[in-house]
Structure formats: C-alpha cells, structure tokens
C-alpha cells in the first residue's frame, strides 16, 4: 500500500484503511475506511508482485456485501459515516451485511419500519401523521383493515396510530399504511384509549425488540400490561392503574443506563411492594 511520504506521514497512521473483519464489535468513527474481505487478500503482504497464479482467474467469486446504516460505499471500500460499533451478519448467500450500531435520538424514516405516529391533520382522504422525522407521513383512509369508501375508519386528530412505512426515502414524503401486504391489520391501526406514550432513544428500542431480551419478560411478570414499540423511539404502555403505568414507563426509560443486576434488584423490590 503506497503511503504518502511527507512530514505528516506519521500523523496518517491512524487513518489507514483497516480490514472490516478485524474491526467487528469495536467503536468506529466517521471518516474511517474499511476494506472488504476480498480486497484484503489482494492488498496483503507482497500482494502487488506475488499474487499466486490461479488457473481460473476469471472465476473469482464476487460476494455481494450489503452496506447497512452508518456505512457508505466509497470506491471499492466502505466509508464509516456514523459513530458506533461495527456489526456483521452472515446470511446464507452472499457476503453478509455490515452496519454501524449507533445510539441516536433522531429518527429517519426507513421503508418497512413499524412506527407509532400521532395524527396531526385530516385533509380530505389523507391523514398527516407525525412520526418524529423531518416531514409528517401521509396515511390514506383506505389503508386500514376493512376500510372502504363508505366505511371510513374512525380516526381523529390526536389519535395514536401504529403502522408501517411503504414509501420512505430522502427524496419523497414518507407514506405509511396500517395493513400488511395481505390486507390484514396484524396489530396495526389506531391504538386504544388511555395509556402513556413516551420517547426513548432508538438504540434502546432495538435492544428491547431483540429476540432474546429478558427485560420485556421480566416486565410482563411484574404487572399485566399492553405495550407497543415504535421504531421511531416511541413506546406506548398501558397497565391497570395509572400508577403502574408510570412505574413501567420509568423502568423502561431507566433500562438504558442500568446493568442487569441493578434491574433485577429494582424488579424484585417492586414485586414485593
């Protein structure tokens, strides 16, 4: 690898591109470049002059690597654009997905995400729903289960909606629906009366929605409750009494900063009282 020979050469030591494999699980900063596995073989020791001659040179397998959130393609390398931990998932075919697990509070709409929105306006056939992004999302009244032109859904301004995005990119206004591709509600739609809506960081939501999360199981054992998680950092909770609802909201907000021991302590104390 050619290094610029100048007075500042030693200052560039930290900015040399590293192999993505070696950085997995570590904190990466914006501006770092990562090499994909097939490139590091070519750039390994003595790569330029002594590449082993293979008989079927044209048939080198080209794995498809998916660049997830926090990474961008920069030539044939990956450029890190957000600060966080580098993660990798190996699916059946292809080279896998690389992404940066960052902690952030601001939500950016992504297609397919399930979010909780607040209806802010009703204009003709479209509801404007605030989802926490830079623009309100639009929701058509026909996108509810069993809705027809005669049979309109009962949605008022100020209602909470649980839906998913069908259109969400940087160039267009986001659009959401409350039915899945088969026309069934599948849990989506207007969220019922009462309960409490509060905001947490996006990282906490992902942690709580992970398949093996014990927090939700423990919370379920504590009180009977209804809970809805929106990928935009919003959680809606409802328990039998207002006090229980508030306790649950406080626990979930504090979960981010507690270790599992502290959490178990708090749960056992609450279970006794």
């Amino acid at each position: 690898m050619a290094e610029p020979v100048s007075v500042a050469a030693e200052y560039l030591a930290g900015s040399r591109a590293r192999a993505a494999r070696t950085v997995l699980g570590q904190v990466v900063l914006p501006g770092e470049e990562l090499l994909l596995p097939e490139q590091e073989d070519a750039e390994g020791p003595g790569g330029a002059g002594e590449r082993p001659l293979s008989l079927n040179a044209g048939a080198r397998s080209r794995v498809r690597v998916v660049c997830g959130p926090g990474l961008r393609r920069c030539g044939d390398r990956l450029l890190v654009t957000k600060c966080g931990r580098l993660r990798h998932k190996e699916p059946g075919s292809g080279g896998g997905v690389y992404w940066v697990d960052s902690q952030q509070k601001r939500y950016v709409p992504v297609k397919g995400d399930h979010v909780i929105g607040i209806v802010t306006a009703k204009s003709g056939d479209i509801f404007k729903v605030d989802v926490g992004g830079s623009e309100p999302a639009s929701l058509s009244y026909l996108s509810f289960e069993g809705a027809t032109k005669r049979n309109r859904p009962n949605v008022q301004v100020g209602d909470l909606i649980y839906g998913q995005f069908v259109v969400a990119n940087k160039d267009m206004e986001p659009e959401m629906v409350c039915i899945d591709s088969c026309g069934r509600a599948n849990g989506m739609g207007v969220i019922g009366q009462d309960g409490l809506l509060f905001k947490v960081t996006l990282g906490l939501i992902r942690k709580l929605l992970a398949p093996d999360c014990e927090i939700i199981q423990e919370v379920g054992k504590l009180y009977p409750l209804e809970i809805v998680f929106g990928m935009n950092g919003r959680i809606w909770v409802k328990a039998k009494t207002i006090q229980q609802t508030l306790i649950l909201a406080n626990i979930l907000e504090a979960c981010e900063h507690m270790t599992s021991d502290q959490r178990k302590q708090i749960f056992s104390r609450l279970a006794e009282s």
């Binding site: 007075v7 900015s15 900063l29 501006g31 600060c83 902690q103 509070k105 601001r106 160039d171």
Partner: protein, 197 residues
C-alpha cells in the same frame, strides 16, 4: 485580516441550505444597516461592519458544511446552537470541537471528524499552542485552524495579526501534530460512551 473578538454569552451557528446574497467570490465581512433611528435630525443611519459573532458563525458553519453529508437529508436544515459557558482562550477552536461532538452525538452522517486548534505567536516568534486569554491578548498573531480527521487536511483558518509565510507553515504543522491528540481524545471519549451500553 484584523477582526474584533467579542466574548458574548451566546453564539448561534446556523447551517441552512439557503445561499447568502453575496456570491462565492466575495471576501467582505457581514454588513448590517439601520436607517432613520433618531427622530430629531433630518436623517440618521447606523452601519455595522464585520461583526465578530457573525463571522465566527460563518466559519463554524462552513466547516460543518464541508464535513456533513447534506445530500442524505435534502430539504432539511441542521441547526447547531453553541452556548459559551466559560471562555479561557481558544474560543473558536473550542466551539469547533463542541460542534463536531454534537454532530456525532446526534447521529448526523459525516464524511470525517474535525477539530479546531489555536496557535499564538508572541513578539519574539515563539509558538504557543492552545493559548490562554492573556496569551492571546499579548500575542502578535493568533491563528485558528480547523483540521479534518482523515488526512489532517485544512478545512478552515482564521487569523488575526502579523505573521510571515514561514511562520504560518510552522503553525499549521504544529496544529496538525496537536490535532492528533484531539482526535485521540474524541476516540477515547466515544469508546467510553459506547462501552457503557
């Protein structure tokens, strides 16, 4: 170029997608004018040229614009609000560092990190990095540089006072060396933040 340094309680830097009325080749400072202020005389006007706060805002904004990937967020404005808690010298460099950390914390996509370093040259030519307010006042020249993290390139420079070309190069080299420490500090503090989760 001489500019006055004010130490006011609040600095606001706005990064919008609008363009200033002065075109790209213009090197004049910001103007503000108010007319007909006084009722008694037949005419009156007040003209304000080169307000330090506005130029500091413009410097920080230009640095952020060079580094933030604005194409990922069209039709959006990113506002950076900086509040001076205490000023012990090197104010502009401190503002730049704070702005960078805030943008990283907010999850705004960036193509590199940046940091600010201030150098002061006193009357016998000695270079002092990160000067205190007293050293800045007594210095012959004060130079502030914004450097990026990928190749220590110069993103912005703001200078006040008299210095020769070789002194400028010397200060720039010293700033590049010092920026290494700042970036190492960024890395450590971000690693500490992510190790808590």
């Amino acid at each position: 170029m001489e500019e006055e340094m004010h130490t006011d309680a609040k600095i606001r830097a706005e990064i919008g997608t609008g363009c200033s009325p002065r075109g790209p080749g213009c090197s004049l400072r910001h103007f503000a004018c108010e007319q007909n202020l006084l009722s008694r005389p037949d005419g009156s006007a007040s003209f304000l040229q080169g307000v330090a706060e506005k130029s500091r805002e413009r410097l920080i904004r230009n640095t952020c614009e060079a580094v933030v990937l604005g194409t990922l967020h069209p039709r959006t404005s990113i506002t950076v609000v900086l509040q001076v808690v205490s000023n012990a010298g090197s104010l502009l460099a401190c503002c730049l560092n704070a702005a960078c950390m805030a943008l990283v914390d907010a999850g705004v996509p960036m193509r590199a990190l940046f940091c600010g370093v201030t150098c002061a040259l006193d009357s016998d030519g000695t270079l002092v990095l990160d000067p205190t307010s007293k050293q800045e006042k007594e210095a012959r020249a004060v130079l502030t540089f914004a450097l990026d993290s990928v190749e220590r390139k110069l993103l912005m420079s703001s200078t006040k006072g008299l210095y020769s070309d070789s002194e400028l190069q010397q200060c720039l080299a010293a700033a590049q060396a010092a920026s290494q420490h700042v970036f190492r500090f960024y890395r450590e503090s971000l690693q500490r933040r992510y190790s808590k989760s």
